[in-house]
């Protein structure tokens, strides 16, 4: 096909820089399809660095792998793509783990609601509070560390600070556990103070476990805290005339102290998370 006219350099420059109005740009593009001379003219006045950048963006958009459901959801919530990837690799944020947590809470809620006597409902509610407080302890221990994170040693050998990675994942685990327990608590018999009584113990036990993990392996720390919590709460429930003693004012105050002390220990000993496997 031959053409009888050619666009001048000024027109081609305005087109290449995107300054031409839409109607004239369409008209010129139709002409460019048929005219080698003008196509060469556009190439000569185009910013090649900008074209390379645009091409790379197109290639990335077409070529980038499709991410999983969890990651896409996190990105939609405003989480940056690299943090979403770090969270998607958290063992205790998998659906199977969250399902197990929901099941544990479900049992406690059913126990509290299906009891015939007041004593039975009280025992079920107590069980729920003990379990809800413990949920994030296991989740945080499994979030990052030797044993449960399959890429722990590769992560440790990388420049990303383990403390930062652990805290990011711990916050996500604490958040999901809190939402699960919060929703389950709405189903407890009677909407009293017990609905939120597990919150401070939950945070306190999690931070105590993290503080202990600066000295021993995270799973050992979580196991020790779980055992201590179960023992203390059950012993106190039996020893006191009030089963919920540990969840009332004195207990909540004790957990505030535990939270403060644990935070100090974690902050002072955070370098322990970077040092490597304790064997």
């Amino acid at each position: 096909m031959t053409t009888t006219w050619h666009a001048d350099t000024a027109l081609l420059t305005r087109y290449a820089s995107g300054e031409l109005d839409q109607a004239r740009a369409y008209s010129l593009e139709a002409h460019l399809l048929a005219c080698d001379t003008c196509r060469a003219g556009v190439a000569a006045v185009s910013d090649h660095a900008q074209l390379d950048r645009m091409w790379a963006e197109v290639a990335e958009a077409v070529d980038a792998p499709r991410t999983g459901v969890v990651e896409r959801g996190l990105v939609r919530l405003g989480v940056s793509d690299h943090v979403a990837r770090l969270l998607a690799a958290t063992p205790s944020l998998r659906l199977s783990w969250l399902g197990a947590e929901a099941l544990a809470l479900g049992f406690a809620v059913v126990a509290a609601n299906s009891a015939i006597t007041e004593r039975g409902r009280s025992l079920g509610t107590f069980l729920f509070l003990v379990v809800a407080a413990l949920l994030p302890v296991g989740g945080v221990a499994a979030a990052y560390g030797p044993g449960l994170d399959p890429t722990y040693e590769v992560s440790l050998a990388s420049p990303m600070r383990s403390f930062g990675l652990l805290m990011t994942r711990a916050a996500a685990v604490l958040g999901t556990s809190t939402v699960l327990a919060g929703v389950a608590a709405l189903s407890l018999p009677g909407m009293g103070w017990t609905t939120v009584a597990w919150l401070l113990p939950s945070l306190g036990l999690t931070l105590a476990s993290l503080a202990l993990a600066t000295r021993v392996r995270p799973l050992v720390a979580a196991g020790s805290v779980t055992f201590a919590w179960a023992a203390v709460s059950v012993i106190l429930a039996h020893a006191s005339h009030d089963r919920f003693e540990i969840f009332r004012g004195g207990g909540q105050a004790a957990f505030l102290v535990i939270i403060a002390l644990s935070t100090i220990v974690i902050a002072r000993r955070r370098e322990a998370f970077e040092q490597g496997v304790r064997e």
């Binding site: 790379a56 963006e57 990335e60 070529d63 980038a64 792998p65 991410t67 999983g68 793509d81 690299h82 990837r85 770090l86 998607a88 690799a89 994170d149 399959p150 890429t151 722990y152 040693e153 590769v154 992560s155 440790l156 050998a157 990388s158 420049p159 990303m160 600070r161 990675l165 370098e271 970077e274 040092q275 490597g276 496997v277 064997e279």
Partner: protein, 286 residues
């Protein structure tokens, strides 16, 4: 100028002594750690990867002390590590997994990171299965994924623990090609109990056994350990420390050759077997 200095390193796990005063140094190029299972190779490599601290001794990597926080971070910024048993998030695709490690290596810019992930996947020949889940890959492919993540960012110090285990001969050749291309001005430390890897790849070899260094030299020098001490005979010779029947029906004997023996040219494996004795021989035969 050595980039890796190992001086009198000791390490025990409960009552088991894994390293009993290992000393050697390494510079640019490939250094092979050769030894039977339980020799302490993995323990030493984990220290070089900054994930395990020694009980005693000194370790310097790229001129820095991994025991100091800021220097350890500087090492980690220039380190690539492939563990002996690399773990994976099995629901990730090969691309997602390597991308995950790239994030851990502080590559935050998405496009530049993805370009780097594609580069290393192509290097290890996995560009065709980048979108396949790790759990659907063969053992050899997974090891190549593990090698790919170690190559991210073209590290100055590459620590590879048994990188050729589970690879078929073609993949092993490809591995040698990849690593040798990168070894001119970088330090590569790899452990193996495959003497052919050492002979083919490493200008320098350190033989370890029972947590100690038995030999430190070139593969040719390791071969020389067995020079004049390998001979063929119709049957197992009483003078042989080690002996096995070869394909042609004759016995290859290693030890103090009797006079008049049909002494043959030794190999790196002969030198290695003579050094580590029957323990390594049992494992090679297994």
């Amino acid at each position: 100028m050595p980039t890796v200095q190992v001086i009198g390193i000791e390490k025990s796990f409960l009552r088991t002594r894994a390293l009993a005063g290992v000393t050697f140094d390494a510079g640019a190029g490939i250094t092979g750690l050769l030894g039977p299972n339980g020799a302490g190779k993995t323990t030493l490599l984990r220290m070089m990867a900054t994930v395990l601290a020694p009980d005693a001794g000194q370790l310097r990597l790229l001129g820095w002390d991994p025991g100091k926080a800021d220097e350890r971070l500087a090492i980690r910024r220039r380190l690539g590590y492939m563990p002996q048993e690399p773990g994976f998030h099995r629901n990730f695709t090969a691309f997602e997994f390597v991308d995950y490690v790239a994030i851990l290596k502080e590559m935050v810019d998405r496009r530049a990171r993805h370009d780097e992930v594609r580069r290393v996947l192509e290097l290890v020949g996995l560009e065709g299965v980048a979108g396949r889940k790790i759990k659907a890959l063969s053992g050899g492919m997974r090891r190549r994924v593990a090698l790919g993540q170690a190559l991210l960012g073209d590290p100055d110090l590459l620590v590879l623990d048994e990188p050729t285990a589970g690879l078929d001969p073609e993949q092993r050749l490809r591995f040698r090609e990849i690593v040798s291309e990168r070894s001119a001005d970088r330090t590569v430390i790899l452990s193996t109990h495959q003497t052919e890897d050492v002979a083919a790849l490493c200008p320098r070899v350190v033989v370890m056994n029972d947590g100690r260094t038995l030999f430190d030299g070139t593969p040719a020098e390791l071969t020389d350990v067995a020079r004049g001490r390998v001979w063929l005979a119709p049957e197992r010779a009483p003078e042989a420390h080690l002996s096995w029947r070869t394909g042609d029906g004759r016995h290859r004997n290693i030890g103090t050759a009797p006079s008049g023996a049909d002494v043959i040219e030794p190999t790196v494996e002969d030198g290695y077997l003579l050094l580590v004795g029957s323990k390594a021989f049992d494992e090679e035969a297994a």
